[in-house]
Symmetry: C2
Subunit: 214 residues, 2 copies
């Protein structure tokens, strides 16, 4: 995956959100874009500390000097990538969860998108969810407190107010919603899940509804 735009798969906005190409729609990717794409892939596959700048240099097909012209340090590169990926995920959350109709139906849409993204761009999800960003930089807070998850909690609280979800502790309810799909994503990334993730959405939503509907 050299030049890695997030091609517009559908109505959803992953594309722009994650479009690593700043403003060049289908031109040859810039050095910066190539470096970012390589970093996502290698950081997710081998981990941050086991990915050296020479590795990135080779994968991106640029020189060390060019990398340092675009990023002050390896850390800053990682932070940039983190922000980009989290923005993309955040967009997915917002596109799906906005609205007032039945919360669990909106949530179903989110799961479908997350699962699709896991299968199309596993390195992206791997990077967002399972790279230990705190090890890289203490500046970065834990994923759980990142914008998408905070947003999700707000929507859960809102759904409770609207009696679309049983009242209860927001944190526990959110964990009950996201825990199972995240676990399946992890299994899928580890290659331990045979069938496609998409096939589990109905069951997950059914379970969530029994557990959490008022």
């Amino acid at each position: 995956m050299p030049d890695v735009p997030l091609q517009p798969p559908a109505k959803h906005a992953i594309d722009d959100g994650m479009n690593v190409h700043s403003a060049s729609p289908s031109t040859t990717p810039t050095v910066r874009e190539r470096v970012i794409a390589a970093a996502i892939e290698l950081f997710a596959r081998d981990g941050y500390f086991q990915t050296s700048l020479p590795d990135i240099q080779q994968q991106a097909g640029v020189s060390i000097g060019a990398i340092y012209r675009n990023f002050a340090s390896k850390d800053e590169l990682a932070a940039t990538v983190y922000d980009l990926v989290l923005d993309a995920i955040g967009e997915l959350f917002r596109v799906n969860l906005d609205g007032r109709d039945d919360f669990l139906e909106r949530f179903r849409g989110l799961l479908s998108d997350l699962f699709r993204l896991t299968e199309e761009r596993p390195e992206l999800i791997e990077y967002a969810l399972y790279v230990k960003h705190r090890e890289i930089s203490q500046e970065i807070g834990p994923v759980c407190s990142s914008e998408p998850f905070v947003y999700l909690q707000a929507r859960v609280a809102d759904a409770m107010r609207r009696k679309q979800l049983r009242s209860g502790d927001v944190v526990v309810t959110t964990a009950t919603l996201m825990g199972p799909p995240l676990r399946l994503i992890q299994l899928s990334l580890d290659g331990l899940l045979r069938p496609p993730l998409a096939g589990t959405v109905d069951t997950l939503i059914d379970n969530a509804r029994r557990a959490l509907a008022p």
Copy 2:
């Protein structure tokens, strides 16, 4: 995986279970034991790659030479620690899930123990669940395929046969059971969960029962 056992003394194997001090109940810990204890703490807190042998040396109060007399390499130390920790967790699973009475009541016991362990020995849980062991050594498989989780899936399948759980995909059902508590553990380790984990057990089991009971 030589000495440093975690004997299962009482019915709950934790306290002494993870007693790094091997067969010597209250003797001065050996070098090996001190190194292992330091490694668990530092690997979990700072990550494997950001923990140097001088760090471990200092924390354990031993010399580099002594470390290398007990472990062939930093990798081997990590692998040893991993096995020990996973054995302890596995014991927790077995102690709680053995038996034939209502599965979800047995599962409740497991959650209580896991949560207690998370609060008493967070570095242990952190190390078992969230250190990316595959980055350290490709020899080590993903946590999800580790002995405790495989065992859990077997018990879930068994509970389905006994009509204690609704029939369905074993992997999805297991994810539905473990996903929420694991997520709460993650939040707790990140310091984002105010109340004690133990207080969530009842809700988690209630949710699981509604979702998964026949």
